[in-house]
């Protein structure tokens, strides 16, 4: 009983010695030379104190010992006083002589205006963005941080990316993980071609394989760039339109062709143009998140384009003069194919992103759209044989061509300012 009383007295003495109000005297200096949140230190009497927080209020103060190494704060901040039950203050040091101390909302406002000053350190930027509570800035900072980490190790970067953006909903993360696994499988699929290319001792093949691997590696950082989907979509639309225009122009220029052939060409051209319009709507629909409609439109569009192209190939085989057209169209089609695959991968990753953002209902749609785009892309690469998505191994004999097409895809990405040269 005696001991109990002593304990009680000690505890009471501790509580009683806590001040009700304390004045800011400085911050605990950052050890490292980088901008960072730092700890505000207060004085009351001869003692120094830290705020003890509970539910964003100052519950009390905790004695600070030892009291050395407290950096003074210059400017108006040194007038700050904090009372029990009031709002706490936070501190951020841009450097040793530039420290901002303010209540959370005020500091968030100040930091919002000075984000540009810490852009070089995306991980600190991420802490600040989270402190501010700006979802857009958080996403940007996560992407920038992941991109920085990916320079060292893409797999670690991806793990960081998922962990940071997926923190809100674990079940969605699992879904995202499946999607990610699929996307990685796809990359491994392309990687397997390089192994094929490596067979044999001839130097050009080895060189090609190295190029191929480098190209694939350069794709990995794109997974952090969600805007890429839109850029690729524009690129695909551009190529499709260009291709359709070419069909029309060719038909008009080649007036020597008989009327029935022109009519056929026009018909296939019209068919293709209609398909392209559908495709455009599908793509923009997917970007506007109207994915259910987009799926069906994309399916229709791809079928129409495929049919049109088949018809065109058949036409081409009828006339040597159309061989040029075939080559030209084939070239565009192959570009479209690889871009479609790239777009599909991006869509899958985007589906993962959406699921991580809690837009779970759209995840499956987007995932399906991604798969459709990849299937369509593979079909473009291997016309006129229909290619089922589930039979990727059938593509094996076309390895060298697909490898080359992958380089084209990488080059196309580089053309639009993405990817390392």
């Amino acid at each position: 009983m005696e001991l109990d009383r002593n304990h009680e007295e000690q505890a009471m003495a501790q509580i009683e010695s806590e001040p009700d109000v304390a004045s800011l005297v400085g911050v605990i200096s950052p050890v490292r030379k980088r901008a960072s949140f730092v700890t505000p230190v207060f004085a009351s009497g001869a003692e120094k104190w830290l705020q003890r927080l509970k539910a964003e209020r100052v519950e009390g103060f905790e004695r600070l010992k030892p009291t050395g190494d407290v950096s003074p704060v210059f400017g108006s901040e040194n007038q700050i006083q904090v009372m029990k039950d009031s709002e706490p203050v936070y501190a951020f040091a841009f450097d040793q002589s530039d420290v901002v101390v303010a209540p959370r909302r005020e500091l968030a406002r100040i930091l919002s205006g000075r984000l540009a000053e810490i852009q070089d350190d995306p991980l600190i930027c991420l802490d600040v963005a989270e402190f501010i509570g700006d979802r857009g800035e958080i996403r940007s900072a996560v992407k920038a941080s992941a991109a920085e980490i990916s320079a060292v190790d893409p797999a670690v970067a991806y793990s960081f990316f998922c962990d940071q953006l997926g923190r809100s909903d674990r079940s969605d993360l699992e879904e995202a993980e499946k999607i990610r696994s699929f996307a990685l499988l796809l990359l491994r699929f392309f990687r397997s071609y390089s192994r094929y290319l490596y067979v044999g001792s001839d130097a050009p093949r080895r060189k090609l394989r190295d190029r191929y691997q480098r190209a694939l590696e350069s794709l990995i950082p794109f997974i952090f760039d969600l805007e890429l989907a839109q850029i690729i979509q524009e690129r695909i639309s551009g190529l499709e339109q260009e291709s359709a225009q070419y069909v029309f122009d060719f038909g008009i220029r080649k007036r020597k062709l008989n009327k029935s052939r022109i009519r056929t060409l026009t018909r296939t051209g019209m068919s293709r143009a209609t398909a392209i319009k559908l495709l455009e709507r599908a793509m923009s629909g997917s970007l506007d998140k109207q994915t259910s409609d987009s799926n069906s439109m994309l399916g229709l569009a791809r079928s129409a384009i495929f049919s049109a192209d088949r018809a065109l190939f058949e036409q081409a085989s009828l006339s040597r003069t159309l061989k040029k057209a075939e080559k030209k169209i084939r070239k565009r089609q192959l570009s479209t194919g690889v871009l479609s695959i790239a777009y599909g991968v991006i869509l899958l990753l985007r589906a993962g992103q959406r699921s991580m953002d809690g837009m779970f209902h759209e995840t499956c749609d987007t995932q399906y759209l991604g798969l459709s785009a990849i299937a369509a892309g593979l079909r473009d690469l291997a016309p006129p044989e229909p290619l089922q998505f589930g039979t990727l191994t059938q593509v094996a004999p076309r390895i060298p061509m697909i490898a080359e097409m992958s380089f084209t895809a990488i080059a196309a990405l580089q053309d639009v300012g993405l990817g390392s040269k």
């Binding site: 605990i28 706490p88 802490d127």
Partner: protein, 303 residues
């Protein structure tokens, strides 16, 4: 405790307290006359037979700071530090859950600026090390928080024989639920009145776990603590994962460990008192334990 991040060492424990053994700690029928420790024998379990099964998958945790972590990674070991309670150089770990408090008494600058770090060690690896002591609470807080409530015994009376003993205590007290123990979910803690009145020290221990009679004690009061005189190796073979302040995520040694398979989670660090990070860190430790199969999925929110 000598853990640099956990300076909870209480005042020296009065040796004289060990002169007052409880009658229940002596087995009158024991021909050797050896004194039995208060928590050595589990009371009969009203819910069924006592569970002797090991919680072999439970890992160990160690709290430190990022600054200290850099030194640990450079050296490859968590080195023993001077312990104020036992007067030895020891490394302290908690078993099966993460618990810490960083008091503002020493190493202040690096603590508050760098943020706390949780290291999670593989259970089997640590079990194979030579452990110095095992306690059913943090030994550093015993004198200050639990000694009165636990019958004024000397701290050594509560020393557990080994980790199997600790497993039995966890199973008995926490409804055989690793998650309940991890989250210190007192709703799933065995009721005191389910223990026969003759098992006074068990009732007192459960009273401490329930938060009765010990003012200011935190969840370390029911966390199994182990100590070792030997350095603990820190590498991809011994570590399951770690939780660090997010700003250090791109540190080269952290990335190297991740590439080697160590799970790393990061939390945002807004400075202020290190203890305020506790919730965030514990949540991420739980995620790592679930990922690694040490805890069942679905318990991340404390369920």
């Amino acid at each position: 405790m000598s853990n640099p991040a956990d300076n909870s060492a209480g005042p020296p424990v009065a040796a004289s307290n060990s002169q007052h053994p409880s009658t229940e700690t002596t087995q009158p029928n024991d021909p050797s006359g050896a004194r039995r420790k208060p928590l050595e024998q589990l009371p009969s379990d009203p819910d069924g037979a006592p569970d002797d099964g090991k919680l072999a998958s439970l890992p160990f945790t160690h709290a430190t700071t990022f600054d200290a972590l850099e030194q640990i990674l450079d050296g490859g070991f968590v080195q023993p530090n001077a312990c104020g309670v036992f007067g030895e150089r020891l490394v302290y770990l908690f078993y099966g859950r993460f618990a810490y408090r960083i008091e503002m008494e020493e190493n202040l600058n690096r603590l508050s600026n760098d943020g706390p770090v949780a290291l999670i060690f593989d259970g089997a690896t640590i079990r194979n090390l030579s452990l110095r002591r095992v306690f059913p609470f943090d030994s550093g807080g015993y004198g200050q928080f639990y000694q009165n409530a636990l019958g004024q015994l000397h701290i050594s009376d509560y020393q557990l024989s080994d980790l199997d003993h600790a497993d039995r205590i966890i199973c008995f007290c926490w409804s055989k639920s690793k998650a309940a123990y991890f989250w210190f979910d007192t709703d799933r803690l065995r009721a005191i009145n389910s223990i026969p009145a003759t098992k006074r020290h068990w009732r007192m221990y459960l009273g401490v776990l329930h938060g009765l009679a010990n003012r200011d004690g935190d969840d370390r009061r029911g966390t199994i603590e182990v100590s070792s005189e030997h350095p603990i190796p820190v590498n991809q073979s011994t570590l399951i994962g770690m939780v660090i302040p997010r700003k250090f995520y791109s540190h080269e040694k952290i990335i190297a460990l991740q590439k080697a398979g160590v799970r790393v989670k990061a939390y945002p660090h807004f400075a202020n008192r290190p203890n305020e990070q506790f919730g965030s860190i514990r949540e991420r430790v739980c995620e790592i334990l679930v990922d690694s199969g040490c805890l069942d999925a679905g318990c991340e929110d404390g369920a």
